[in-house]
Amino acid sequence: MSTEASHRRTFLKVGLAVIAGAAFTGPAGASAQQDSLSGEGATGTLRDPYSTGRPLDRVTPADNDATVQRIEHQLKCSCGCNLDIFTCRTTDFTCTTSPRLHKEVVGLLQSGLTEDKVIDQFVVEYGEQALMAPKPVGFNIAGYVVPGAVIAIVGTTLALYLSRRRTVTAAEGITPAPIGHYDRLDATPEELARLRSEVSRDDG
């Protein structure tokens, strides 16, 4: 019985508060309905802050530092996204790994390390897979060199082979086949004359 009475009292209190609130804030309440943001001041609180993702830190000058960005483009985020740190932290705003790694980069730079040393430090800490591209040393050189080398070797071989075969063909006196396009060329003498005239005009 006492519980029911307590509920009734709470209900009445809330009801009175709502009515009083509506009476005192009539016009303002109407404007609040138009603006879904019921916060106060210039930076009002969002009605549903969770739907904008996790709360973010304010941007610092280090976030826009060109050296930081350049380093972060060379380092991989370890959250499993397969992106570099900069791209991950400025794209996947749910990720908490890339902001942490970013702070680490900034911290290392502020401690006086050079760009290369920061990268080396990441390799020491997280292994070679922390790099977005392997360093061209040891076996990794193959990664960089093989495609170009294969193309160069095949191209050179092809050029030499074709030159040699062409020489052999010429020596054997083999008459080359006509081009498919021209064996079908069928034109009147007047048209052929105009063709020749066009060609000679262009040559001249």
Partner: protein, 685 residues
């Protein structure tokens, strides 16, 4: 419907197996009834897969959440067009989609192929049926049946990943699939030609349109994929050298190589072995791409969930490779070239080196994609091969390819003389040089960008010269006005000039790639009324004033829209809005469940020079104080414009009809084209 769908899949599997066994056994050669049966099996497979596809669509559209696939990829508040597109959103549905589209292509191939190639068609039916059987086996035996039911019925489904809720995702995957799938038809004809030993140019004529169709869909799919990545993913780029992206590029490169080298075979009877290798290789690369996407063997942002289906693809890839190349090896002597190359200074040689570059780039991309696995095998060390690696290796190769794009059309068939070369190269080389000087005068010093744009000038010179000379020839021959002569020139020789239009599109791509080198990023935290200024590489200053963040509900999501008032060099450009979207499912009114993490909608303002790309990253402490990433990317517009040009060029080359051999139209067309070609030096040697 699920029962009917599953039943259709099983019957289709049996019919496909029958067609494959009968087709490859060769028994049909003595039995006309078996031949008819084989051809009809293609139509039967199509009919059965149509039933299966309609069954799945029925399940999706009726929100039958008892079907595991429907519950996994849709929700009751998902817009209908995304429900339709959910067919290919997941592994199971996309496998069915693949098999279904292949059955359509196989039926069209059977129906439209000229009776002249009737002896190839039973083999074609057998090959396409075998591929369908493989896909069905992956579904039925790899636990990927899209009609699988749950033990209970959820009140609502999980919904579609927000990043897939973009109009491009309703078009991009099907386009790419169509590209992959349609390669099966040229492959089927190639295998049919090898099996039947009919290795003249007949099979090439039979697949001419198919190769163009396949290349066209792949091009559209890749470009739409870039557009989707750009507008939806919010990272300010369009190509990340991700393994799945690379997988789509591989068959595109080899198909492009084939489209060039096939001209040499048709005109000169050369490169017959090479062309056969390219067709087989393109098909295997399309399967390889699917294997990468679905096996999870290489980490990718695009991968489907890992499953056993990867083993099916690997097995099929191995078997198909061994069978195809063994068959090619046994027919090797029959594929001897009819004529030899006469000169290294000829269009044939230029095409040959163009092929070398295209296939070389394909190899380079494949090598880079597989290098992490190779490294782990050999050194036991895991490494990452990302964009910096691919850019370093592939940019020089791409530049060489661009150069060859400009050189090829300038050199005569058979043999070019020095005077001819001088005359042909004068204008394009002059334009390239002029571009170089202008760029240097404007202070551009980035080596690759300067070289690329100068070569773009050179290629533009080549293409302009080709169009100009052809048009002038028609104008002087037929007294046609220049615009009409240009239209007639393209219409009468669609393959050649359509190809040039495609080259123009590719040129625009290169211009856009150059612009990407100057991309700039800036982050800012802004309270309402705060302004941030950003300087663009073109020297413009953008001022962005944060207006505020408003929140509202729309359809299946809560939208948080951050708006900015934007001006450039003091001139007002307007309001730009970037959003955060929290999607939810709604089993019953008021009962909501957030389905995914909040996603981002980018605000983009694009013009010929640069894109202003704004991402609302989120808020500070749940207030209107917003964190933005502002990116300026020069010349991106040219990528989408180039895509449009490329599609137009592709359509021109594929447009049906046109002159046939010995028809009066052909004679006229050849004369016009011959005249144009004479001007470009074909008879100069």
């Amino acid at each position: 419907m699920t029962l009917l769908g599953s039943f259709a899949l099983w019957v289709c599997w049996l019919v496909g197996l029958w067609a494959a066994i009968v087709g490859f056994s060769g028994k049909w050669r003595e039995r006309p009834d078996l031949t008819r049966s084989l051809i009809r099996s293609s139509y039967a497979i199509f009919g059965l897969l149509l039933v299966a596809a309609l069954s799945l669509w029925k399940g999706l559209l009726s929100h039958d959440f008892n079907i595991e696939y429907v519950a996994a990829y849709t929700s009751s508040n998902l817009p209908t067009y995304y429900v339709v597109a959910a067919f290919w959103a997941g592994q199971k549905g996309s496998l069915l989609f693949w098999a279904f589209m292949l059955s359509i292509f196989a039926s069209i191939a059977q129906f439209t192929t000229s009776r002249r190639y009737a002896d190839l068609l039973p083999y074609v039916a057998a090959v396409t049926a075998t591929i369908v059987v493989f896909f069905l086996s992956a579904m039925l035996f790899g636990h990927e049946n899209p009609f699988e039911r749950l033990a209970f019925t959820p009140a609502d489904g999980n919904g579609l990943n927000p990043q897939l809720q973009n109009v491009a995702m309703t078009i991009h995957p099907p386009m790419l699939y169509l590209g992959y799938i349609s390669i099966s038809i040229p492959f089927a004809f190639a295998v049919a030609a090898l099996l039947s030993r009919r290795l003249d140019t007949g099979w090439l004529h039979a697949i001419r349109k198919w190769t163009l169709v396949s290349w066209f869909f792949l091009s559209c799919g890749i470009t739409l994929g870039m557009w989707w990545a750009y507008v939806e993913l919010g990272w300010g780029g369009y190509w990340a050298w991700d393994p799945v992206e690379n997988a789509s590029l591989l068959p595109w490169l080899t198909m492009t190589a084939f489209l060039h080298s096939v001209m040499i075979q048709e005109k000169r009877g050369m490169l017959r072995r090479w062309n056969m290798t390219l067709v087989i290789g393109s098909f295997l690369l399309s399967i390889f791409g699917t294997f990468i996407t679905r096996s999870g063997i290489i980490a990718s942002v695009h991968s489907f969930a890992q499953s056993n289906v990867g083993y099916f693809f690997l097995a099929f890839l191995v078997v198909a490779s061994i069978a195809s190349f063994t068959l090619l090896y046994t027919r090797w002597p029959l594929l001897e070239a009819e004529v030899k190359l006469e000169s290294m200074l000829s269009r044939e040689a230029a095409f040959l080196f163009n092929n070398l570059m295209l296939v070389g780039i394909a190899f380079s991309v494949l090598w880079g994609t597989l290098f992490p696995i190779l490294s782990e095998w050999i050194r036991g060390e895991k490494i990452t091969v990302g964009p910096p690696f691919f850019n370093k290796v592939n940019v020089p190769l791409g530049i060489l390819l661009l150069m060859l794009t400009g050189i090829g059309p300038l050199i005569a068939w058979r043999k070019a003389s020095v005077s001819n070369l001088r005359r042909q190269f004068l204008f394009p080389a002059g334009l390239g040089l002029l571009t170089l000087i202008v760029l240097l005068l404007f202070g551009l010093r980035d080596f690759y960008v300067v070289i690329s744009l100068s070569l773009a000038g050179f290629v533009l010179g080549t293409l302009s010269q080709e169009f100009y000379r052809g048009t002038r020839a028609r104008h002087s021959m037929y007294s046609e006005s220049y615009p009409y002569a240009l239209v007639r020139l393209i219409g009468r020789n669609r393959r050649r000039y359509g190809g040039y239009i495609v080259h123009l599109g590719i040129l625009c791509y290169f211009v856009a790639f150059c612009g990407y080198a100057f991309k700039t990023d800036k982050e800012a935290t802004l309270k309402p009324g705060d302004t941030v200024q950003v300087k663009s590489p073109f020297g413009n200053t953008y001022s962005l004033t944060h207006i505020g963040v408003s929140q509202y509900e729309a359809l299946n999501r809560v939208v948080s829209a951050a708006t900015l008032d934007v001006s450039r060099d003091g001139k007002k450009l307007g309001i730009m809005k970037s959003e955060k979207r929290q999607h939810f499912s709604e089993a019953s009114p008021g009962v909501r469940k957030n389905t995914f993490e909040p996603s981002t909608e980018v605000a983009i303002r694009s013009d010929l020079r640069e894109d202003l790309y704004i991402v609302y990253a989120g808020s500070v402490d749940g207030t209107e104080e917003a964190v933005y990433r502002i990116t300026i990317i020069p010349l991106v517009w040219w990528l989408w414009f180039g895509g449009g040009v490329l599609v137009f060029g592709g359509l021109v080359t594929m447009w049906p009809g046109g002159p046939t051999a010995r028809s009066p139209r052909l004679i006229g067309a050849n004369y016009g084209a011959g005249l144009a070609e004479a001007e470009t030096g074909a008879v100069a040697g």
